[in-house]
């Protein structure tokens, strides 16, 4: 779990540097996570095939429809929930 957390942190750092360039790295996409304040994460494309990640997207669909306010996919759940779900994914 600690390793996973540090991985996610690494992804966050990656995301900050990626924000400056035009395209994110191949195989990744940005997601904005959080209830009021949104944090930008980069997640691997393979997450999109995972039912638990799809469930997070369905939650977001309930809130935003398909029109995401930040442009990038926005997942309006608590950050802990996001970390909990994604830490189980490979």
């Amino acid at each position: 779990m600690a390793l996973v957390r540090s991985l996610l942190v690494a992804k966050k750092i990656l995301s900050r540097s990626a924000a400056a360039v035009s395209a994110p790295p191949k195989g990744f996409l940005a997601v904005y996570v959080g209830e009021s304040q949104k944090k930008r994460y980069l997640v691997p494309l393979s997450y999109l095939n995972q039912p638990s990640f799809q469930a997070l997207l369905s939650k977001s669909e309930e809130e935003f429809g398909f029109d995401h306010p930040m442009g990038g996919l926005t997942i309006p759940c608590p950050e802990d929930t996001f970390i909990n779900v994604t830490s189980r994914l490979h």
């Binding site: 191949k26 996409l29 029109d67 990038g72």
Partner: protein
Amino acid sequence: MVKPCWRIGAGMERSKINPTKVDGLTWYKDLGLHTFGEFSMAMIQANSVMEDQCQIESGPLTFNNPTVQGTFVGVYDGHGGPEASRFIADNIFPKLKKFASEGREISEQVISKAFAETDKDFLKTVTKQWPTNPQMASVGSCCLAGVICNGLVYIANTGDSRAVLGRSERGGVRAVQLSVEHNANLESARQELWSLHPNDPTILVMKHRLWRVKGVIQVTRSIGDAYLKRAEFNREPLLPKFRLPEHFTKPILSADPSVTITRLSPQDEFIILASDGLWEHLSNQEAVDIVHNSPRQGIARRLLKAALKEAAKKREMRYSDLTEIHPGVRRHFHDDITVIVVYLNPHPVKTNSWASPLSIRGGYPMHSTS
């Protein structure tokens, strides 16, 4: 002067040379010939079941008057399921021909009647299926139809698809929107609904930062959506999210198309007809510039790609990665998209389409996942 419809395309022959193709989630016909010139079609699926449908028909537009020749183009953007858009694709053109045969010509009234009867017949199907398949009552579709005949282009629209004309102008091309749209996020559509339902304070509700009719749907006119047209469907076993809390007596949505008629001039180069999936990523002018500055072969696919590149940019990912996403979850990145480009050829193409009219249908069956 109104030009007669004598330019006939050799659609069937061209179809054999350049057939329709499917590549993954994309369906396309890169180039074909209709009565007045060339055309190009492309569609891409994002929903788990493709909800868009389209068609092009070229040749006689009546059953009894061979001099009435022209091109019919339809873009049908379904919602809540594919049944309504498929129903339109099966029915609207034969109905148009039937009504056109009665008056032996094409007119605004003929097109409006074809829309009305298509909606009426779809609602009959919903009634018939209600005991076994009640969710049909929440299926609907936008319907955009273009008829080019007699030097005129009729654009009839119910919903929020769009037709844009490319008109050449001093070295460039100007976008002229031909369709009138019905989406609650347009001021005109909201004013219309408020004036039609002055005593209903919840006729339009802002939800997820967007205006929605009764808080459930963005389009203010459609084919189908029986649950918003007849109160008899506003009850169980229709899913709770489609049921309105209060009874209504007057239909909330109408199937009536807004029709515009434009006399074509030699400056009119082409018309782009597309579902809103394209227009949410490309402006009218961006789209006509792409068409004006690119080869005709595969132009519809080129527009699709331009829209998808925009979608990828918005979602902060690479276009090449976007193309790998499976239908269903892909809806979070873009909608089903249909685009048809119809070139308007000022020079007659003399062949015989009475014997072999052109008929191409796109969007069915495509992929189905759940």
